[in-house]
């Protein structure tokens, strides 16, 4: 009983911390100053989102939310890559 309430408390704290991290990344996303900073910040946002979903999955005990995390893991990096390609080459697809 104690353990489970402790675990849920820890999860709550973890979620809050992840949200803080997300807020920090968004701050960088908003402020810049360089475009590259923003791209990295967006990537950090995605990673934060992934971890948040895992935390939610742990809290609810549902495997479905792990799959959402899987989706971010499999496809989230594409956005970052597209931006990187655009910055480096001027074209996303060539």
């Amino acid at each position: 009983m104690l353990m489970s309430s402790l675990a849920s408390l820890m999860l709550l704290i973890a979620q809050l911390l992840l949200l803080l991290a997300l807020a920090g990344a968004v701050w960088r996303l908003l402020r810049g100053p360089a475009v590259q900073d923003r791209v990295v910040a967006l990537d950090a946002c995605y990673t934060d989102g992934l971890l948040l979903m895992l935390a939610i999955a742990l809290r609810t005990g549902s495997i479905l939310y792990v799959e959402m995390a899987l989706i971010i893991a499999l496809f989230g990096f594409i956005t970052t890559m597209a931006f990187a390609k655009f910055l480096l080459r001027g074209e996303v697809i060539e």
Partner: protein, 964 residues
């Protein structure tokens, strides 16, 4: 007698089938045969029915069309319909024969006959309609075909103008008629003609009677070219003469008369009917005759004379007396015969002499004696000479006017006007005939005239013969048909009328003699004056056509210009401001009533609040940067999207979260692809002045109001308990009814699969349009230079530049490229997983399709388009076609098994090795959705991505101008 009713539907289909046949008719044979054959077949069917129809039987055929709306496709053929069908087929045959020799072989004949046959079907549809909505449908169809036929010579501006005028007038009338038909259906409670005809008292006593009558009258008057809508008919004479003979004298313009006769039992007999129909008829009668007297063009005389004669028929219908109906029907037959014959004769003269101008014609009696004799017979019938059919119906008309009892001055006026119009009719007939056929032979005509081909004369001869036969032996020739038609309109209360040549010395005969004498005198006195005259005396300054043109100019020039001055189209901002302002205003009107019952939020979830703060920050930032820093805005909107996705997960909606995440990625890449081609910011172009600041403040306010309103709406929607009947139904029936546990997916592919089918169709259309637009697109010169962001980037290393367009540097982004290759198979596997389990757990065709697209995108990014195209055969069009057809086939499969369209089947069982299986046929449908989504996304992607590998024609890419 049911066995004889089945051909009714074949009869109505026959002309349409023939119309299609004429369009693909082999070049070797003349398409005129199709129309002649169709007319002959139609006449044969009518002849087969004749015994029954003449006895007052009604041929009916019915098929439930949209039973839920009370709409049936039904045919109702009584004596009245049969009379008009007889005209449609009979004159149709003659016109087809005539046109065979009138229209030169190098004209687009197939188009001509296709349209003529389509008209034949549409006109039959009107007269045989057993449902008023169906009647309106065919009514509009005749307007449309008439438009196409008037514009047959669409190279000429006058033909195009005339066609447009006719379409606007008759089409507008058709719209009014639709309103009238809907009101009739509303009053009676049924659109069925039988039901409507049986409830005359209900309709006449209804408070909506006047409105209904006015709407139906507007339809009838505009179609029959009655005052004040008469002006389209003379213009319509720019159509080929067979069209004028068929549509614009014998059949289509009589549709208005038919309509009024059809509804005579339920609408007539009131003062409103008398004044509305009678006045329009009287004015058209006099106006048409007066203008016809002043025309110099043969066809123009005939056109105005048609207006006049139709006015006469309308007037008789308007009297509301039973004898008036009989006389109107009789004159419908007579007018069709002599006017069609005269039109054909005028066409023959035009064909031979090369002109239709009375001033350039003369003495044709000597050059084309047979045509002259035939035209003289028909012309005399038009003038109302004894022994011809026009005389008889005119006598009957006089008898009707004498029977008028609407007060002394009305009665006297009607009689006087009748004589006056008849006199004018004599005068213009004399002008037409004497001017064309008598006098010295004119040497002014462009060609030396001779007799037209024999088969061109045969239709004229048949019609002229009919004029004579009806005129001499009326009771024998048309008696039964007229009786059947009149009985269909009037029912049992047929008036006493006698169809014979000599009634004794009666008042109508006196009126006839007076009209004849005054017409002759008028002609002799004004002959030389009229020969020079260009414009119509007295009324030339006021012309309905000019009024119409003024209205059209107002509507298409003046008003739009004024509107453009007030709401300039060049500044989209103004339009958007108006649009959003109105939307916000309307929304505020609705929302204001909820304002005091906004429930207070309950417990606040701290985590969600933080998440939303972050997300809103991103959204606001994106809006702020959107104008000048598009890429930053794109990234910020990505952040906002992520926040939304996490919220979905937080609120336990993994389906939405997955879709949101994948859509986010695809959209970002597609926008980035397009971003390249947007125009660059020009520094210093926009100066910040107090005015712009004020404008921006206004825009900001509108944006805040719109966004805040939307937010409030969402807030209210979420906090208000909804009536849960619908959602409970879906949740309770998903597994037993649709065989799936994922309610969202079951709704998409089963309960509402018809919607989904529509959506994927739209999606495919959108993709094809994008492809079509971008296929020919070449980037603007300005956007060809190296993107400035790339210049700012630290990696602006010359070595990183591609050597030529489309070149891929080996070793560039090597690590991600390798990683992508490793991840892709798993991503694809995951997509399949999403697709297959979609019916029971989050996933489905749409999400899976997006996932597959993303894999393709990332491969293209990492390895280049050429690398991918060399290894994967991407054929998006096939994907789209396959998916759409599969979805359709799934639905049709259910129909083949006798179930409604798109019914799904599901079942389960046990297999030896694999264990329990569960299957729903909706999976095929989902597979279709999946394929369409993949095809659409890749098609758009390819269309956008190919821009960068493609340089504009003749322009060298500006890569070398990049500063180092």
């Amino acid at each position: 007698m049911d066995w004889s009713h089945a051909p009714a539907v074949w009869l109505i289909l026959l002309p349409f089938v023939a119309s299609g046949l004429a369009a693909i008719w082999p070049r070797r044979w003349h398409p005129g045969y199709v129309m002649t054959g169709t007319g002959a077949l139609g006449l044969a069917v009518l002849g087969w029915w004749a015994p029954g129809l003449l006895d007052g039987e009604v041929v009916r055929w019915q098929h439930a069309w949209m039973p839920a709306l009370g709409l049936d496709f039904s045919l109702y053929i009584d004596g009245l319909a049969a009379l008009f069908a007889l005209l449609v087929f009979g004159i149709g045959i003659l016109v087809a024969i005539y046109a065979r020799y009138y229209m030169p072989a190098h004209y687009p004949l197939k188009r001509f006959y296709t349209l003529m046959l389509a008209f034949m079907g549409a006109m039959l549809g009107i007269v045989m309609a057993g449902n008023v909505i169906q009647l309106v449908f065919f009514w509009e169809l005749t307007s449309l075909v008439s438009f196409l036929l008037i514009g047959y010579w669409h190279q000429g501006e006058s033909a195009r103008d005339a066609a447009r005028t006719a379409l606007i007038v008759t089409g507008g009338g058709g719209l009014c008629l639709l309103g009238g038909a809907l009101l009739l259906g509303h009053i009676v409670g049924s659109y069925d003609l039988g039901a409507i005809l049986a409830s005359g008292d209900t309709i006449r006593n209804s408070p909506l009677y006047e409105v209904t009558l006015v709407l139906i009258l507007l339809g009838a008057l505009s179609k029959s070219a009655q005052f004040p809508f008469h002006f389209w008919l003379p213009q319509a004479m720019s159509a080929p003469t067979p069209v004028s003979a068929y549509l614009h004298s014998a059949t289509m313009v009589k549709a208005g008369v038919f309509l009024l006769l059809r509804f005579w039992p339920v609408l007539a007999g009131t003062d409103a009917w008398f004044w509305g129909v009678g006045t329009a008829g009287l004015v058209s009668l006099l106006l048409g005759a007066w203008i016809a007297t002043f025309q110099q063009d043969l066809k123009a005389i005939l056109a105005y004379s048609t207006i006049s004669h139709l006015g006469l028929i309308m007037m008789m219908v308007g009297f509301g007396s039973t004898l008036g109906v009989v006389a109107a029907l009789f004159h419908v037959i007579n007018h069709a015969t002599f006017k069609a014959s005269l039109f054909m004769a005028a066409g023959a003269i035009d064909h031979e002499a090369g002109t239709r101008d009375l001033r350039r014609l003369g003495g044709l009696r000597r050059l084309m004696p047979i045509t002259a004799t035939l035209a003289l017979i028909s012309g005399a019938a038009m003038a109302g000479v004894p022994l011809l059919n026009g005389f008889l119906s005119k006598e009957m008309f006089f008898a009707v006017t004498l029977g008028s009892d609407y007060g002394t001055w009305v009665d006297t006026g009607v009689v006087l006007f009748a004589v006056l119009a008849a006199g004018l009719s004599v005068a213009y007939s004399l002008r037409l005939l004497v001017g064309t056929f008598f006098g010295p032979v004119s040497l002014d005509s462009p060609r030396s005239p001779g007799e037209p081909p024999r088969w061109m004369r045969v239709p004229i001869a048949l019609l002229s013969l009919l004029c004579l036969l009806v005129g001499i032996l009326p009771a024998r020739v048309v008696g039964p048909v007229l009786h059947a038609a009149a009985a269909a309109v009037l029912g049992a209360e047929l008036p006493v009328y006698s169809l014979q040549l000599w009634h004794g010395f009666t008042w109508p005969l006196v009126m006839s003699i007076a009209a004849f004498a005054s017409g002759c005198v008028f002609y002799v006195v004004t002959r030389s004056y009229l020969a020079e005259r260009e414009a119509t005396a007295w009324i030339a300054p006021v012309s309905a056509r000019r009024v119409f043109e003024w209205v059209m100019v107002m509507l298409t020039e003046t008003l739009p210009r004024w509107q453009q001055a007030v709401f300039p189209a060049r500044h989209l901002q103004v339009q958007l401001r108006v649009l959003f302002g109105m939307a916000a205003g309307v929304a505020a009107l609705v929302l204001v009533q909820f304002a005091w019952q906004v429930p207070a939020p309950g417990r606040i979830d701290v985590g969600l609040a933080v998440l939303w703060l972050v997300g809103s920050g991103c959204a606001i930032g994106a809006a702020r940067q959107a104008k000048f820093h598009r890429m930053t805005a794109l990234m910020l909107s990505g952040g906002a999207g992520l926040a939304v996705a996490i919220t979905f997960v937080w609120l336990s909606a993994p389906d939405l979260a997955a879709t949101q995440l994948l859509v986010e990625s695809v959209t970002t890449v597609l926008l980035l692809l397009g971003l390249r081609w947007l125009p660059k910011r020009i520094p210093g172009l926009v100066r910040s002045s107090p005015r712009t600041r004020r404008r921006r403040l206004g825009d900001f306010l509108i944006a805040s109001v719109a966004g805040g309103g939307m937010g409030m709406l969402a807030y209210l929607a979420m906090l208000h308990p909804l009536p849960d009947a619908v959602s409970r139904f879906f949740i309770e029936n998903a597994l037993p009814g649709g065989g799936g546990r994922n309610v969202v997916n079951v709704i998409l592919v089963d309960f509402r699969s018809f919607d989904t089918l529509g959506e994927i169709t739209v999606l495919a259309i959108v993709a094809l349009s994008i492809y079509g637009v971008l296929r020919r697109f070449r980037p603007a010169n300005e956007s060809l230079g190296t993107p400035h962001l790339r210049l700012q980037a630290k990696g602006g290393d010359p070595a990183m530049r591609p050597a030529h367009p489309g070149a891929t540097l080996p070793g560039f982004m090597a690590v991600p490229a390798r990683l992508v290759l490793l991840v892709s198979p798993f991503a694809l596997l995951f997509a399949v997983h999403l697709l297959v389990r979609g019916h029971n757990l989050p996933g489905g065709g749409f999400v899976a399709g997006l996932a597959v697209t993303l894999v393709l995108i990332v491969l293209c990014m990492a390895r280049g388009v050429r690398w991918v195209e060399a290894r994967v055969r991407v054929a998006p069009l096939r994907w789209i076609a396959f998916g759409w057809l599969l979805a359709l086939a799934t639905g049709t499969g259910a129909m083949l098994l006798g179930r409604p369209f798109l019914t799904s089947w599901h079942g389960s069982g046990t297999l030896p090795v694999l264990g329990t299986w569960h299957f729903a046929s909706a999976l095929f449908f989902d597979l279709g959705v999946f394929a369409v989504v993949v095809g659409v996304a890749t098609l758009i992607l390819i269309a956008l991505a190919h821009q960068s590998v493609r340089a504009p024609i003749g322009v060298v890419r500006h890569d070398d101008t990049e500063p180092t």
